[in-house]
Symmetry: C3
Subunit: 342 residues, 3 copies
């Protein structure tokens, strides 16, 4: 059960209501049973609802004491007698919705701290919460219902949409942020791209005259950095989710719904299509086109364009089956050599 020091907890809800929230089919129960929270299969009790989405955990289902469980049709017959079932095609998504209903984010408490520094030309929307030690510069515009945590910085001319959550210590300059965007602590958006012209060993800064555009429903993880464009804009497409400590270079564009895992870097001017997945610690070189639905394994190094729907691995990255073959071939090679040389 989530620690109440940190998480809000809604009132108990009937199974009928939860089935509706999760778009599930209710089975083995009238729907009047009252559930007070979510918990794992191991920890749940009679008053809790749990979920099964990964077949690896199916054995926990049979012995679980959960009052109810969200699961797919194919696992329904493994549930113990007396457990109410919420049948779903996507139990994980249904769980996400039900867990959010039990533990809603803290509401925005509208108000502007007297210890925020806001230029008089800035425009603050309705029902925003602007915290202490925030600085908002000349000409910035903040939409309605947006929360800005302490010590964040909103630079000159920056525009932020509605219902955004800008967490602690974020830096925003030269950028336009959509609606429902979540920026975790320490995110840096809009600083100079890394561009220099070199004359006899002296690196002269090339002015970076583009912006960063963050579309709606984007989430960016703690301490990640997104540089502004050199001339064109850097663009993060709607619904893209970026993890912690990620680097996005100048002029990069991502499509819709991409997933970029922690510590990955995308070099300047590369374009990602829609629904691209980059695993952790991936590096993508500059000026490349990565097609939609491409999937890159963790720690890979991508040095060439990638056609849509391709799965790559390794550094330099190759098709994932090829990468596995290379790994095996290399091992076999040393087995032989080992026999001969040692």
């Amino acid at each position: 059960m989530a620690d109440k020091s940190f998480f809000n907890l809604s009132e108990p809800m009937s199974l009928q209501k939860l089935a509706s929230i999760g778009s599930c089919e209710l089975r083995a129960d009238s729907g009047e049973r009252i559930i007070s929270g979510v918990a794992s299969l191991e920890q749940a009790g009679e008053g809790d609802i749990s979920f099964l989405s990964n077949v690896k955990y199916a054995s926990a289902l049979a012995t679980s004491k959960a009052g109810a469980c969200i699961l797919s049709e194919k696992h329904a017959d493994k549930a113990p007698a007396g457990m109410a079932l919420l049948i779903s095609d996507n139990p994980y998504a249904a769980y996400a919705k039900i867990a959010t209903a039990f533990h809603p984010d803290s509401s925005v408490i509208p108000g502007i701290s007297p210890a925020a520094y806001i230029d008089k030309s800035a425009i603050i929307g309705d029902a925003c919460e602007i915290s202490a030690n925030v600085t908002i510069e000349e000409g910035a515009v903040i939409g309605n219902g947006t929360y800005i945590a302490p010590n964040s910085y909103i630079g000159r001319g920056v525009k932020i949409g509605n219902n955004c959550r800008i967490l602690h210590g974020v830096t925003l300059t030269h950028c336009i942020i959509g609606n429902n965007v979540l920026l975790h602590p320490g995110v840096r958006i809009g600083q100079d791209g890394f561009g220099f012209a070199t004359i006899q060993g002296v690196h002269i800064k090339v002015p970076q005259l583009g912006r960063v555009i963050i579309e709606n429903h984007v989430e960016i993880g703690a301490n990640s950095c997104i540089d502004r464009g050199a001339g064109p804009d850097t663009i993060i497409g709607a619904g893209t989710k970026i993890d912690n400590l990620v680097q996005i270079g100048h002029n990069v564009q991502t499509g819709k719904g991409c997933i970029i895992v922690a510590q990955t870097g995308v070099a300047g001017s590369t374009k990602l299509g829609d629904y691209v997945v980059l695993g952790g610690q991936v590096g993508v070189a500059g000026h490349l086109n990565i097609g939609s639905l491409v999937n890159i394994a963790a720690q890979s190094g991508v040095m060439n364009d990638v056609p849509a729907k391709t799965i790559l691995g390794g550094s330099p990255a190759v098709p994932v089956k090829q990468w596995h073959r290379q790994t095996i071939a290399l091992k076999k090679l040393t087995e032989k050599k080992g026999g001969a040389n040692e």
Copy 2:
């Protein structure tokens, strides 16, 4: 000699006292000699104490002008005449203790800045120093003798133990911090883990309902990020030391005394045993068990469980000798090919 603009310097001490601080055996001196500071073998003068812990630097010993040197028995006969010797089984550790005695950290200066924003329900222990522009939210609890530097953020319900040092611009939410913990600038602890359920390309946030537990004597480097658990807690075991720019995913657990070098990432739900060492830029995949005393070379990629006491290298990681053989085999392969093809 350490720059006094930055470092405190204690009064000079007798060799006898220093031998006692470092648990060393004093040799070639009565112990009454007065030493005023620490310095390298090259830079030390008559009033300084130096140390030799790496045999690579043994040649510097013979010509050093240091008044005294901390070293192991086996190097004692290489010291020049007239140099006082502090014999130790672990000269580096003895040096650490003696150098700390000469250059203690700045004391906490108890007091709460009038420019700190502290919710009235928060509890601040005795003799804490809370700096300007710190925000401490509802229900947070700070132990005794803890220092919080400017611009840090202590979220709702966060608990911090005694004698911690939370440096500049740190973000703490959804976490419980033990005693004697040192968090370097820009550390982010407790933000959402990276968990989404996807329905037709739309990534829905899965509520992250766990916490982060940081045990006693942990140190975490600048700009490192530790996400809170999805349901279970993320746990950093006692005495673990984490370097800069490290990423720790949700539900990760480390044992006691682990060492995690800069820019390494550990993906969600992986468990490290005790005294695990991860070199720089290592990636460890999710849901793995890494045994105690495992040692992973820098830049390795760990994709499978690792038994205790194993040393691995490479990406994908293999036993370190195998990795070296692979490197050599690959070179030889191209030598032959080079001969034939070019």
Copy 3:
């Protein structure tokens, strides 16, 4: 054209003046034509100046509507009739100078925010801008014309030169910063190096008694970390440019004019010569000597000393041609194996 919400724009200038700023030879025009801004070849109109520095974009030249273009002698004959030409040996550098003339950085607005916390022993130079929620500790010294953005922290005894720009949320301790240094948001300089002596599994901190020296004209990217020396200083040589999320360990020294791309890490005590280029996500092990003008490909792992002027790639890093041969040999190996085994 750069978005005026974010960028200053100077008055229009004559081609003659622009040729002088960029040290170009003016051709196909009297020099009296008035230009109002810079733009890409595709987007530029009659009143704009563009540039061609990469032969890949030569085809855009012929159809461009730009009033003027900066280019090298060898491309001059491909320009459309009526376009004024600014001939340069280094068109990219000439563009950088001209674009800077059109879009100068915002001036420092001298003044000290009443919401900055400045120890009375600190010395602030002439014409500095010190923003809200900045803390400047005991004995710090700030040169003339330096800008410090909100929420930055200048520790005890830190010295900063003239005309520096310290952006939002930067942490500076135990360091001496030269003139004309640019530090992007979230940079951390001067924290403890990662040094421990271990006694029976307990990691004792080894006091880090050196400093960080940042020489003139250095730029450091967002959220990058530079640890102070253990005894010697960590030194970043004049004119070196460091990208985002880079880790520089204790005692590292770089020469002049190095380029260190994003997410690279350099381990303790390694020395780089002058004009070394490290690509993105490179790892360099500790205690190495990397010669001047060395170039390391992205994602490489350097484990040995590197002679001057060498180009390396791969992990472990080898000469770049050897690396390409290895990549090809490995692919061929699996083709054969594939034929036999599958």
